[in-house]
Every structure is written in C-alpha cells, then in structure tokens.
C-alpha cells in the first residue's frame, strides 16, 4: 500500500534539503531505478514509485532521475508536469482527492469535501500548514455506482457519508498511518446486477488458451473474424482486422510484436473494466495471451489507470499464479516458441492516456500526447513495434470466441454489433452497477432493468458520448444506432442539464493534453462561456460564439478528446434548450464580469466591507 509517513513533505519546494534528506532521497531513487533498470521508457513508473515513497518529487530528485537515466532534465520535468498525480511541490502526508464527476457531485461530494476541509482547517487545493494533509477534486474515479468516492494516498474509499467523512478526518488528524485504518473503509463493491455470456462465463484459467492451441493461430483468427467482435473501448473497430494488420506488419523478430490492454477507463461514468479486473482478471489476461498467440507477440502490457492503484497487488497475484500454471512466460502450455509475458504499467491521472497513441507514449515513459497517424500502432506502436491496443472487455470477450467459436458469438446482438456489452449504470436509478446486455437492447429496456423512473436524460458513453432525451429511449444500444463505451448515466427530471454539460466541459478542459491549439485553448474558452452563463451574464451572442467554438473543436482537434469536448453542449442546446435559455438573461452583449465582484480581492486585502468599498449597480 503506498503510504508516506516521511517528514519530507514538510520541506518547502525551494528550501535546501538537509544532508540526511538528500541521503534518503538518493536511496529511494537508487532503489526504484535498481528495480526497473536505468531505462528511459520506465520513467513514468519510476517517478510514480519514487513519489509513493516521498509523497512528492523534489527538484533535486528530478535532477537525480534524469542523470541516472541519462536523459534531459527538462524531459523528466515535462513528464512530472503532465500527470495530475505527480507533484514537484510538497504535498500533504495525506493526499485526499474527491471524485468530481457529476454523479459524485449529485451524491453530495462537493459538500463533503467542504466539510472535510473545514474539519481539517484548510482550503481545497491547498496543503495544511503543518504538511499533514491536502484536499482537492479529481476527475471521475470510476466509482459512480457507489459514490461519492475519494482517493487517499491513491487508495479508493467509496460510499462516503457524513459519518465516513468524520471518521476519515479523525484518522488524518491523529496522523494514523493508512495501514492502520479500518480495512472495511477500502472495500469496493462489484455491484454486478445483470449477467449474460461474459459475466456468466465459467471458464477456468487456461481453458480458452488450450482450445486455441489445439487448432493453431490461423484457426483462432478465423473464429475471431466470424465473431465480428468490435472493440469495446469506444471506436468499435473490428478486432480481427486490427489483429490481422498487426500480425501482417513487418517486425524485428528479436523484439516481437506487442499486445496492450487498455485499462485506463477514464471516461466519466465508466467502471465496467474495474469489475472485469476485479472478478474476471484471468479472463482479461487470457484474452491478452490469445491476442499474443494470434499476432505473434512476446510482450504484453496492462495499462492501469492510477485511480485503480488498489487493484495492482491483486492483479500481480493473478499474473504470478498464471506464470506458475504455465499460462505465461516461456513455452506457454509447453508449446515451444510460444513465449509471452505481461507487465502492468500504472497511469497517473490523465484521461487522454486512454487514447491509444497517447497511451503508447505514456507506456514509453513520456508525456501522454496523441501521436500523428499514420503510421498506426498496428505497424508502429510501442517503441516502434507492431502493437495491438485493445480494451479490457474486448480481450475478455475473445476468450468466449476461442472456446465457443465465432458463429455462436455472432448470433448474439445485432447485425453490426455482435455479442454483449457491459454497461456501467449510475445516477438516478434504484440499482446502479454493472449490467450485461446483448447489443440491440433499447434504452428503455435498460432503464426498466435498473429501476429508473421520471428520467429526463441518459448520458451514453460518458462525457464524450451523447445525451439522449426521452423521445430517443426507443433507440438501440449498438454501433449502428447509439454506440457506447459503456457509461450509462441517468438524470431524472430534478436535474439541471446545464450543470451536467458544464461539468463535462470542465472535465475536458482539465484533461486536455494541450498539444493542439483548438482543444488547448478552445476547451478553456468554452468553460469561460459556460461560467459566464452560469453566473447570470449570459447573452444571445454568447450562443453564437459557443457554436463557432464547437465547430472548430470538432473539425480541427488532433484527437477524440477535443473532437468530443463540445458534444455535451451541442446535445444540450438541441435537446434541453430551456436550461440554457433561462441563463440567457440578456439579449445583447454583456461582459463576463461584474465591477463590484471584481473588487472582492481588494476588499479581502484591505479588510474593508463598508459601502465605500462597493460599486453599486446604478453607479456602475
């Protein structure tokens, strides 16, 4: 369990460390680098592990790491700066991050964060003066079915209540090491509510591999093609085709091809991969091994989002067990030449790293900036090797195809969307959790199953997906109708759809990697307009501005993040216009600021609040 009880966090960023601190830092750096080797592609993993020991990354540590890996210090600084969970400033010994997704907010996360801040005497986003604790918001932690949720030193706590917040505050105030906290605080429920072929799978470790090995890789590819399986990560690319491109790409045999399992699951409101990794990890790793067998890969990576740090140890155990069973490593199931192993890489708080080329950059220890395509990962992926990046659920489904055949799989679902889909259901319903439905199920059927009534809107596919109004609830969940990566957030008639869209757009602005102009600046400009509306200064011309920005974001952004960033507002304006119009108080242009409010800082500094320190509307 990552825990840091060292006194280092009290050290200011600029103050010279004591000789003893320097010694300690060096020891930690050496220890971590010894484990990974002085390989630049391990940079992110090295930084994450050093920070788990030190709670932050002092300037001198950044210098040391750069020297040890023989890379530019600026590059290391650039990587530290990119990831939300890495810090070059001292951080509290307890670092509390409240999930800020709209679902957590609807469940009261904001009030709870304020409450904890009050109890521990600090401001959100700041560290307490004694270096004990820092508290702030973070993007969706993937616990929408059991929110509000938070992370403390990277560990997940869900189902927050007034009592739990009290208890946590008390434990922090007493400086109780995380290892001594009541362990039931860290329990995460699976909440599996509806099972179909995947979640009902009774496959034992090795079953799918044995079936595949009996017939050879070509036969496996044949079944994959027949299955018509499409990627579950969002884009819906045909998996067999991706594997085919990859296995046909020229390769340096000594290095081999690469299989990557995308477990970044950063899309707000999505948590189905979490449950697969908790309860069906063998299926996921076996799917990766099947992919390796099909394409001829030697190396596999599971890229696990930082928010799921608590899953690391159990997943490592599953990997060890599989090695012991001959399901990973050299000569898998005694088949000479079938060598494949899997390494887990952690993310560190960056939604964009779910985009497959940003993910590859991150795997190589770099800033998670999406690459230019072509070339595509299937020919030039991890360190330039042919690489297949697949979602957790896609890979788990491959096991069903290997055992039951492609035709059986293709029989389920619709013509263009075979098989089933896991939905992460959260928001206003009786039974949030994981629901497995065959493709083709209607929105109404799903709503019925989870006990949702008085529904105003469903957000399909997360923040970057689509907002559906009741008139669309007869539509089908399928690539050819309403595609989804798995999030299904429900909002009843009491919810303000403007708030929902605004939450999502702020999420995109926070998560923009900043590589391309439209998304870096456009998402910030959009949040500015939404805040203006929200503060009561909205005017008609603002809608035209929003419209232009939407267009430019969609057409010129470098990756799916920027292209989708305007979706929530586009859908909102189309389907929930009254929520916007009630904020358009002015017909003509209106500035975004208020003269009196602009004086607030001056009033705080001078300690004045008399009539003379205010500008009234008439005066202005």
């Amino acid at each position: 369990m990552p825990d840091s009880q060292t006194p280092n966090s009290q050290q200011s960023a600029l103050r010279e460390p004591t000789a003893e601190q320097r010694r300690h830092w060096r020891l930690v750096v050496e220890g971590v680098i010894a484990k990974h080797g002085a390989r630049p592609e391990q940079l992110l993993q090295i930084l994450i592990e050093i920070q788990e020991e030190l709670s932050w990354l002092p300037l001198k540590v950044v210098t040391d790491v750069a020297e040890r890996l023989s890379i530019s210090r600026a590059r290391v600084e650039g990587v530290v700066g990119f990831y939300s969970f890495l810090h070059t400033r001292p951080n509290g010994r307890f670092r509390v991050l409240f999930s800020n997704n709209i679902i957590d907010r609807m469940l009261g996360s904001q009030t709870m964060m304020d409450e904890m801040c009050r109890k521990l005497w600090l401001q959100p986003g700041k560290m307490s003066e004694d270096g004990l604790v820092s508290i702030g918001p973070t993007s969706c932690t993937g616990m929408g079915d059991q929110g509000p949720a938070l992370l403390v030193n990277g560990m997940t706590i869900t189902k927050l209540t007034h009592q739990r917040v009290n208890l946590i505050s008390e434990l922090i105030r007493k400086d109780t090491p995380l290892a001594q906290w009541p362990q039931d605080l860290f329990a995460v429920d699976d909440n599996i509510q509806r099972k179909d072929i995947l979640l009902n799978s009774a496959l034992k470790p090795g079953d799918a591999l044995r079936a595949a090995l009996a017939n050879g890789p070509d036969a496996l590819m044949e079944e994959m093609k027949k299955s018509k399986l499409r990627g579950r990560g969002g884009a819906g690319f045909t998996t067999a085709q991706k594997w085919d491109f990859c296995r046909q790409a020229p390769v340096d045999e000594a290095l081999g091809r690469v299989v990557v399992c995308n477990a970044d699951e950063g899309e707000p409101g999505t948590f189905k991969d979490r449950v697969l990794l908790t309860r069906y990890a063998d299926l996921v790793f076996e799917g990766m091994t099947l992919a390796a067998y099909a394409i001829g890969a030697k190396k596999g990576f599971l890229y696990l989002r930082g928010e799921y740090r608590y899953l690391l140890a159990p997943l490592q155990e599953v990997l060890s067990a599989r090695r012991a069973q001959g399901l990973l490593g050299a000569s898998i199931l005694s088949q000479t030449g079938f060598d494949f192993d899997i390494e887990i890489h952690m993310g560190a708080g960056a939604y964009v790293c779910g985009e497959e080329t940003a993910l590859l950059e991150s795997l190589e220890g770099k800033r998670g900036t999406p690459r230019i395509r072509p070339p595509f990962p299937v020919t030039h992926g991890y360190l330039g090797r042919p690489t297949s990046v697949n979602n957790v659920e896609t890979l788990a489904s491959a096991c069903l195809i290997a055992t039951q055949g492609g035709d059986a799989f293709a029989k389920i679902g619709t013509a263009q969307s075979s098989g089933t889909k896991l939905l992460s259901i959260s928001g206003d319903c009786a039974q949030p959790g994981i629901y497995e439905f065959p493709f083709g199920a209607t929105i109404a059927e799903v709503l019925e199953a989870c006990g949702a009534t008085d529904v105003q809107a469903v957000q399909m596919g997360g923040a970057s997906g689509v907002t559906l109004a009741p008139s669309e609830f007869s539509r089908k969940m399928a690539f050819e109708d309403v595609p989804t990566a798995g999030a299904f957030m429900i909002f009843d008639s009491g919810r303000d759809m403007f708030e929902v869209a605004s939450n999502f757009v702020h999420f995109f602005a926070h998560e923009s990697c900043g590589f391309c102009t439209p998304c870096r600046v456009g998402t910030s400009l959009l949040t500015g307009y939404l805040d203006k509306l929200s503060n009561g200064y909205g005017s008609k011309p603002d809608l035209a501005e929003i419209d232009t920005l939407n267009r430019v974001l969609k057409s010129t952004s470098h990756c799916g993040l920027g292209q989708a960033a305007a979706n929530p507002i586009l859908d909102g304006l189309k389907k929930f216009r009254p929520a916007y119009e009630k904020r358009m108080l002015h017909q003509d242009f209106e500035p975004a600021f208020n003269l009196d409010a602009a004086l607030e800082r001056a009033r705080q500094i001078t300690g004045r609040d008399d009539a003379g320190a205010h500008i009234l509307e008439e005066q202005a």
């Binding site: 300037l59 001198k60 950044v62 210098t63 890379i71 530019s72 210090r73 600026a74 590059r75 600084e77 650039g78 530290v80 700066g81 990119f82 884009a235 690319f237 991706k242 491109f245 960056a350 800033r367 999406p370 230019i372 395509r373 072509p374 070339p375 595509f376 299937v378 689509v466 602005a509 926070h510 998560e511 923009s512 990697c513 900043g514 590589f515 391309c516 102009t517 439209p518 870096r520 600046v521 456009g522 998402t523 910030s524 400009l525 500015g528 232009t548 920005l549 267009r551 430019v552 969609k554 057409s555 010129t556 952004s557 470098h558 990756c559 799916g560 292209q563 979706n567 586009l570 859908d571």
Partner: protein, 258 residues
C-alpha cells in the same frame, strides 16, 4: 452530432491508403492539379507546386508535428492536418475556402489570447510568423477574452532572452535542440492551458543550461520567445520581412527568407 467527417483517430483506413504506391500521382487542391511523390504530405506537395497552405509548427527541416492545426484542409469533405496527411492520388483538397479560412482565423485568435502578444513593443514584430499569419487572415482584434497568463521572462543568459509570453508551443526549439543540437535544452511541462516551456536546469534558468547562441534551437523560434540580446532593432520596424511581403508569398521553397 455532425457526421461530415470521421474523427482523426476514430477510424483506421486500410493500410494501403498510405502505402507507397506508384501510380498516376496527382491530386486537386482548390481545383488545381498538384503532382506529388509518394510519401509527401499534402502540404509539401502543394508547396512544391507553388501553392501555399498556411502553417506554423511545420518546418522544412523537420518531420511534421501537427500541433498548431493552421494547416487544416478538407480532403474529400473531411478535415485533416495537411502537414501530417500523406498526399494520395485523386483526392480533392479544399484549402482556401471561406469555411477553412474562418477556422484558421479562430485558431490564430486562440493563439493570440492564450499568450501575451504586445506586437508594437515586440522585437520580433514584422519578422514574426504568428503576426504575419494574422495579417494574411485579416485579423483586426483577438476577439476572445484575453487570458493574460503569468509568464515571467528569463533574462539570465548573457546572450539570449526568453520571453515565454509569446510561445505558441510549436516545439521547434524542443525538436531542434533534441534532434539537431543533441542537447534537449527545452521541453514542455504541465498540460492543457497550463502547458508551458521549461529549460533543462534545476534552477529553471537558461543561463544554467548548455545552450549556445549558435545552436539551431536558439535560431528557430517563429515568434518572439527566443531572442538574441544586443541585436534589437538592427532592422527598423516597417522594413522587416513580413512588413513588406505577405508570408504566403514567402513561404514557398524557392522564396524562403528565413
């Protein structure tokens, strides 16, 4: 949701679409026939044919970077970055259309408001590519609310000045330092709107890096970030490169002025 294009990265065409193919090699750009050799980008092919597509982060000495998006064009109705998209036989490219010009204008305005650009007092004025693009796109105002970021100047180096306020994140200095000078003096840190340039020293000062004024990185900035000291105003305002001739007429292979 508009479906007029397939989002870049949301689709994967057959690999043959960008494979080297030896067939009749030309495409049309705003109606004109443009020949190309396999492997060339749309932007390069256009440039060789004497047609200028506006760009900022692209540079003839480096592989495409694809960040500024000024080179956006429409290929068969779908938006792409022309610097990073291989030319292909028979495609129809639109560049100088009202729609694309308007989008480029917005992108330029974005670059202006996110930094602090006080052109009348900038040493680079008249030789600045951002300003030159703004002239070409008839930008009269930044249009959007200015961000006024806080970006202190670094004057620590005896011969070079860094005014981060004007950075457009083209990463030409980053690439030149890493790939040509072999030093990696520059890098970007943080992300989103907080992204900024850093130099490779613990103090964060340029003076403590191994940069040399003759390095390619010190001489490549298209705007007024990396400046040489004691050379201000050797050419008076009004007589500088883009004061006299638009960038669109200078940015072609046989007319490069850099």
């Amino acid at each position: 949701m508009s479906q007029s294009f397939t989002p870049i990265g949301q689709e994967m065409p057959g690999l043959d679409q960008w494979d080297v193919r030896h067939m009749s090699q030309s495409f049309t750009l705003d109606g004109a026939e443009v020949p190309f050799t396999p492997g060339q980008s749309i932007l390069e092919a256009a440039r060789n044919a004497g047609i200028y597509i506006p760009h900022l982060c692209w540079h003839p000495d480096f592989p495409a970077h694809g960040s500024c998006k000024l080179c956006v064009v429409k290929v068969n109705g779908r938006h792409v970055s022309s610097c990073a998209t291989p030319a292909a036989a028979g495609i129809e490219v639109k560049s100088n259309s009202p729609e694309i010009r308007e989008e480029r204008k917005v992108l330029l305005q974005m670059l202006f408001v996110e930094g602090n650009h006080f052109c009348p007092s900038c040493e680079k004025s008249g030789g600045c590519e951002l300003q030159a693009q703004a002239y070409d796109h008839e930008i009269m105002t930044p249009h959007y609310t200015l961000f006024y970021p806080d970006r202190p100047v670094d004057a620590s180096h005896p011969d070079l000045l860094l005014d981060f306020n004007r950075c457009i994140f083209c990463e030409l200095c980053v690439r030149a330092s890493r790939d040509v000078d072999g030093k990696s003096v520059f890098a970007l840190s943080e992300r989103g709107i907080h992204k900024h340039l850093v130099v490779s020293s613990e103090s964060g000062r340029l003076a403590d890096t191994d940069i040399d004024p003759s390095d390619k990185a010190a001489n490549i900035c298209p705007v007024g970030v990396i400046l040489h000291k004691r050379q201000g105003f050797t050419v008076p305002y009004g007589q500088r490169a883009y004061d006299e001739t638009p960038i669109s007429e200078q940015g072609l292979p046989n007319k490069e002025t850099v």
